[in-house]
């Protein structure tokens, strides 16, 4: 099952993404622990895109794709913001505030792939399903 929708590049949209994602995952029989982790992954990626991906005061849309496969879930984010591979900044900071989001995402996902195609940042994340 694949579900796709778009959100505005505003932090308050994360609430809607959490809600939609939780509904989709509950519907597929996902364990609560993994629902929370998927919400966390989506939040961290979106905060990164919304906070750093656009010039100030730019209104834009981010495409969000949820893909329910046999043994894993995939999330895909597409945006037309500044070309930026978040994985290249994959360093865990020590002693300073912030910068924890993407390392957290990398740790929680089985696979994280970034590509820039058709003038869009495309970030695809894969998480293995877990037994109840």
């Amino acid at each position: 099952m694949r579900v796709e929708f778009s959100i505005a590049n505003r932090l308050d949209e994360i609430v809607r993404v959490h809600s939609e994602l939780t509904t989709l995952l509950e519907g597929s029989g996902c364990v609560q622990e993994l629902i929370d982790e998927m919400c966390l992954i989506a939040e961290e990626v979106l905060v990164n895109i919304i906070s750093h991906g656009f010039e100030p005061n730019t209104e834009a849309e981010i495409q969000f794709l949820f893909d329910d496969q046999q043994d894993h879930y995939a999330l895909e984010f597409r945006d037309c913001g500044i070309a930026y591979n978040p994985l290249e900044a994959d360093e865990r900071p020590e002693g300073k505030v912030g910068g924890w989001g993407i390392p957290l995402v990398v740790e929680l996902c089985e696979q994280v792939d970034y590509r820039f195609e058709s003038e869009q940042n495309v970030l695809r994340l894969t998480v293995a399903k877990r037994e109840k």
């Binding site: 959490h18 982790e37 905060v47 865990r92 912030g98 924890w100 929680l108």
Partner: protein, 121 residues
């Protein structure tokens, strides 16, 4: 999708902050404001009770990290107690907060506070 924050101050200088719900990008600023409002001189020990916290993101970690730094700078202390496994997992991955400031049970925290109290006496 909400966070309830209850700040309970006692006369012994201990301030207990109970978090209930989700500490994320949208709820973190509210918690930060409440933690910043605590007077470190009258309440030099802050205990953040995580037993009813279901979810934390890096925005929440950032608020707790800053509160811990604020406490240290003010010669006060801030400790966390009783995180659920899902919340503890995030702490373990991020490693932003020293493990000695996170207590798994109330008993463990009480022993620590007793020890601190005796050191002062």
């Amino acid at each position: 999708m909400s966070l309830t924050v209850e700040v309970l101050k006692n006369e012994d200088g201990l301030c207990r902050v109970e978090l209930n719900g989700r500490l994320d990008t949208t709820t973190a600023p509210g918690l930060e404001a409440k933690l910043n409002a605590i007077d470190l001189k009258t309440h030099p020990t802050q205990v953040i009770d995580l037993s009813s916290l279901d979810y934390i993101s890096s925005a929440g970690i950032r608020v707790l990290f800053k509160a811990k730094k604020r406490a240290s700078a003010g010669k006060a202390r801030l400790v966390l107690v009783n995180p659920k496994p899902s919340v503890k997992k995030v702490f373990d991955i991020v490693k932003a907060l020293p493990s000695e400031s996170i207590f798994q049970t109330m008993e463990e925290l009480d022993r620590y506070l007793d020890k601190m109290q005796k050191a002062v006496e």
